[in-house]
Amino acid sequence: MIYSARNLSIGIDENILVHDVNFDIEAGKILALAGASGSGKTLTCLSPFRLNTGKASGSALLLGQEIIGLSEQILSPIRARDVGFIFQQPLTALTPHLTISAHLIEASMQAGIIPSHDNLITILEKVGLSRPTDKLRQYPHQLSGGERQRICIAMGIIHNPKLLVADEPTSALDAELRRDITLLLHDICHENNMAMLLVSHDLASIESSADDVILLQNGYVEEQSSTRLLVQKPQSAYGTSLIAATPRMDEPISAILPIGDKLLDARNISVNFSRPFQFFRSKSEDNKVRAVRNASLTICQGETLAIVGGSGSGKSTLARAIAGLGPISKGQIYWQEQELPIKRSRQNRALMQPVFQDPIASLDPRWRVGDMIVEPQKYLLDDMSDILGPAELLLEVGLKTEFLERLPAQLSGGQAQRVAIARALSVRPKLLILDEATSALDPLAAHNIVQILQSLQEKYGLAILMITHDLALARRMAHKIGVMKDGQLVECRPKDQLLTAPQHDATRKLIENSL
């Protein structure tokens, strides 16, 4: 047994935030702590090692030694020698002015080992980095996000720890990298016979790596079982709802609503950005970043079109161009066969309304909910006769009228996103444009938003253009799926066709990575 906990409770000041957690991790096994934000996952994994403000009580045995109650001086060398840590933010976890080799040497010296050049090369190879000799001389900014996370992993395992503690190691990465890193962690644990404590809110990556799972809710253990059992047959109510809320690629395709006439027709949309800070500006094409190239799509009444792609594929830029909120270099957008001007009129804007990724940031922090959700009506509508008032709008998204007086800071992420949807609905749009509208939310809140959107679609025949990196979610919600890669919409077809017979490599890769 590498690491085990008995009746582990964690408090900050006088409040107990995590109650009675028990677990054992054997060598070569991975235990995942899952749950929504604020459920106490990070406290549970870091507090016994005195790495945050939480105070642990109960018992935590590392290689048979009790670590709770040890003073910092005694604990510090144990922590440095036997435990490796990987944190959430690969983009900020590295010091910008140190080379990769300096990072690795420093990490190793903490455990009292001075590594040779060959050691460094071996460790980089182990985390799957190509050209390790070059990498050692490079600086963090020369590496991509995925490569940086691999460096962080290398720093965590360079001293051959017995236990690896990974706190949300993949949540800052996009779907493709997420899967690669998860598999890498899994392989490293098995090959080196390391035990791993993984913290994640992403059930998909837990499923593909962890042996056992602990589900935490508000600091209590809701369910503790093997991963396979949890996914197939969750025992607790929380586990059941969590599994149901998480879209899966192998779930049956739900019945989709019928669609109506064609509303929007975007033809050959291109968006170019000129590169910044260039002394000699030329007008040539290769001097521009071509964020979107010749994308064409149509959306009908009551239809959901999902655009799926990795980060930087241009999907958000395309959505903004269609919404009239971002630049557009070439192409036309038709609404019921009439061309929309580049500068949208008020009537044009009322037709389609956006909902953004970060729900709280998309609400003005100084406005009350009640004022906020009717703001578009004031600007966009001429005919104010049969509009919905603020209270009715809140009802549409399942919020009570007491929320009218709240400020954005007093809302949870899910509530804030519902307010944002209510604001978009206030002008009776025909098309909602959702830019990663659920990806900042935890699974249950995200599922709730999805259900609200589906019921609104059924009620009003809303068309939805959704941008997402999550193919499983697109599969659950959409009629049609479009795949974007490097600014090109490589494929855009009804979802069953696209998923069963992908025609493009990018689509195939996406499907493979989402399983």
Partner: protein, 276 residues
């Protein structure tokens, strides 16, 4: 600490405004029979000069109160003018961005580079001494920092999603600025206004000390310090009293301003939503 300094400043302001009504002497009035009376002398008390009188027989307490009043009002007015110019300049530069922003901010840089004292002295020499000129002189300098702060803040707010949401709501640039940007920069602007006031107090006193400030018989803390410095060997109170008030005023205002700024900055970090 912040509350204490604000209360202190409020008490000083109230005294400077209301106490003169209770005094037997006006700050311009000359008592021919009580010239250069010492603060400790019984005779001064009897004649109603509670802090003595100056070398031409004017009541020292009345003059200190008048000086505090002038200094504070000049400071407040000049800071308000600076805030008005600074906020407008900063919002225009930050909102429009691009080349306009470049040009407007280079103008700010150029003004920063000018030797301020030199310019004020030339203005004073050419146009003569007047309160209005002091306003203009001080205001012309103090708005620069405000413009920079506001512009940076506007640039940061401009890219937040709620501005994009307002744009999608069909709000015009003007209503976005008035309804969404201005309320969100007001906290920072007011904090910097609080920090500008003590700076202006300082500049005004300095100009007055040099003899470039308000004109006799009006007075300000700077003039009183100057007069006191001339006779500090025989009558230290003439220097220490206005000097002490000046110091307390500047320190209290600075502390209040900095605390306010820290509080607003801390609030701006905002709620941390979920791990995404």
């Amino acid at each position: 600490m912040m509350r204490f300094s604000i209360i202190l400043v409020a008490i000083m302001a109230a005294l400077a405004v209301f106490l003169p009504f209770l005094l037997p002497w006006d700050y311009t009035q000359i008592d021919w029979d009580g010239v250069s009376m010492d603060i400790t002398s019984y005779e001064a008390w009897q004649r109603g000069h509670y802090l003595g009188s100056d070398d031409i027989g004017r009541d020292r307490l009345a003059r200190i109160l008048a000086g505090t009043r002038i200094t504070m009002s000049v400071a407040l007015a000049a800071a308000l003018v600076a805030m008005l110019i600074g906020i407008s300049w900063g919002i225009i530069a930050g909102w429009i961005g691009g080349r306009t922003d470049d040009i407007m901010m280079r103008i700010v840089d150029a003004l920063y580079a000018l030797p301020f004292m030199f310019i004020v002295i030339i203005l004073m020499v050419v146009f003569g001494r007047s309160i209005l000129l002091i306003f203009i002189g001080i205001g012309a300098v103090e708005w620069l920092t405000m413009a920079r702060v506001v512009r940076a803040e506007v640039k940061a707010i401009k890219v937040r999603p709620f501005i994009l949401a307002a744009e999608a709501s069909g709000a015009s640039s003007l209503s976005i600025i008035l309804r969404h940007i201005l309320p969100n920069i007001m906290g920072v602007a007011i904090a910097y206004l609080m920090l500008t006031v003590p700076q202006v107090v300082m500049v005004e006193s300095f100009l007055s000390f040099l003899g470039l400030g308000v004109q006799e018989p009006m007075t300000s803390l700077g003039i009183l310090v100057n007069e006191g410095a001339a006779q500090m060997e025989i009558n230290p109170a003439a220097l220490l009293l206005p000097g002490g008030i000046l110091i307390i005023l500047i320190i209290s205002l600075t502390i209040a301003g900095e605390r306010l700024r820290d509080r607003i900055n801390a609030g701006n970090i905002g709620p941390n939503i979920g791990a995404s």
